[in-house]
């Protein structure tokens, strides 16, 4: 792998916080409260974000929202074409998704293939009333007709660049950066 260096800082810790706060408000507004909502973070980048959104929604609304995590490895469409198999992480959805509004949460929206896999996976756990998508950074280059309902930041990129979201939960400085040659 060629070493990529940091080309630009997109969001700092404050920027990330602001974006998540705004998304929380938008989720509540769109769904008229938190009553039907369940948040599901996509492994690995989306899980911490889902938990943060849950905290914020609770602060705003005073009511808890359930949070789960979803691993989409088994639903990928590129297995066998990669050099080695990705190791599946845990899927843990501790609530019944039947008739819930599921807000899928991920850090970066790129080709849309992960979201396709996530939706297929969700369907195997039950029949949600609706699925919405919350994304911290939408970097474009979609390969499937998928669009986010809630976006922290729209970011035009070249397809060769890499967008990396680093969160405090993983240890280290919290930021969103573009990496390139």
């Amino acid at each position: 792998m060629t070493q990529q260096k940091e080309k630009a800082l997109i969001l700092d810790s404050t920027g990330i916080e602001r974006a998540l706060t705004r998304i929380s408000h938008e989720i509540l507004e769109k769904n008229r409260g938190a009553r039907e909502i369940g948040l599901i973070g996509i492994q690995r980048g989306g899980v911490h974000l889902a938990h943060r959104l849950a905290v914020k929604i609770r602060e705003i609304e005073g009511a808890p929202v359930p949070v789960g995590s979803l691993d989409i490895t088994m639903y990928r469409d590129d297995l066998g074409t990669r050099k080695s198999q990705p190791v599946p992480q845990a899927t843990d959805i501790p609530f019944d998704i039947q008739d819930k509004v599921i807000v899928l949460v991920d850090d970066v929206l790129f080709t849309g293939r992960t979201i396709r896999a996530a939706m297929n996976s969700i369907m195997d756990y039950g029949r949600p009333k609706r699925i919405q998508l919350a994304i911290l950074v939408d970097r474009g280059h979609r390969e499937l007709p998928i669009r986010a309902d809630f976006v922290g930041k729209n970011l035009p990129t070249s397809s060769k660049e890499k967008v990396e979201v680093m969160l405090a939960e993983d240890g280290g400085e919290e930021k969103v950066v573009i990496l390139g040659e």
């Binding site: 490895t73 639903y75 297995l79 990669r82 050099k83 080695s84 198999q85 990705p86 599946p88 899927t91």
Partner: protein, 309 residues
Amino acid sequence: MALSSKDLLGLKGMPADEIRLILDTAATFKDVSERDIKKVPTLRGKTVINLFYEASTRTRTSFELAGKRLSADVINISTSTSSAAKGETLLDTARNIEAMKSDIIIVRHSCSGAPHFLAGRLESSIINAGDGFHEHPTQALLDLFTLREKLGRLEGITVAIVGDILHSRVARSNIYGLIAMGARVRLCGPPTMMPAGIERTGAEVYRNMDEAIKGVQAVMMLRLQLERQAAGLFPGVREYARLYGMNRARLEAAGKGVIVMHPGPMNRGVEIASDVADNDSVILEQVTNGVAVRMAVMFLLSGGNKAEA
């Protein structure tokens, strides 16, 4: 992290991190079997062949379910329907199967080395589902998985394997797997059923069962093939059960919370008393875990671009 071979032929020589990868992966696949929809699209479009030259309901079903839960197309070929009866060689049969574009061939055969023989001659991934007295790697992996689930670790535990070690592929795979993972292994059985030089694997050999199981965390009881009596390897079932059978008194004398395992099918009242089998064993959990482990193995072997690997 990936498996270094296109095939799973045995656990001998498999590094601990590869075994750990399989066990970790199996943990996530175990969840799939616990959902209402027990199926994921992971191996959609892949063709898995169960090529069984030896009857086995349990193992074949386990592999079949594992394949189907991964959305692979699974075809079963067993001796009664295979061309072996018509005198076709193993290689010809396997080449014909591969000509129909198989991705994974799961082989059970009474001849040790048969999966090895095919692995060197076919493109498909070969999974050894038990060959002669050689290895039965997925059985040992599910045993390791079950032990790790029950005890939280494998390193530093002591496991006794009791019975006909000589003719047991389950014992051999477990010896390699357990020792690779840092466990200690004790072997116990009549000397007529103890293979030459087995202590060179690092396992300790015992003649007396009560000594062998004293203080261990788990005991694996092996199935006694009753036809071994005719070969003079033991005088009779009654004496065998008395010397090498697991019963309540023995289990209690061994220590508290000793896990009792059996790869099945059991001879109740011979190597394991019904009372112990039904109340103290983890036999059915082993069976449940078998599906998850086999899903993990098929998943891991399907990954990776073989040309690049």
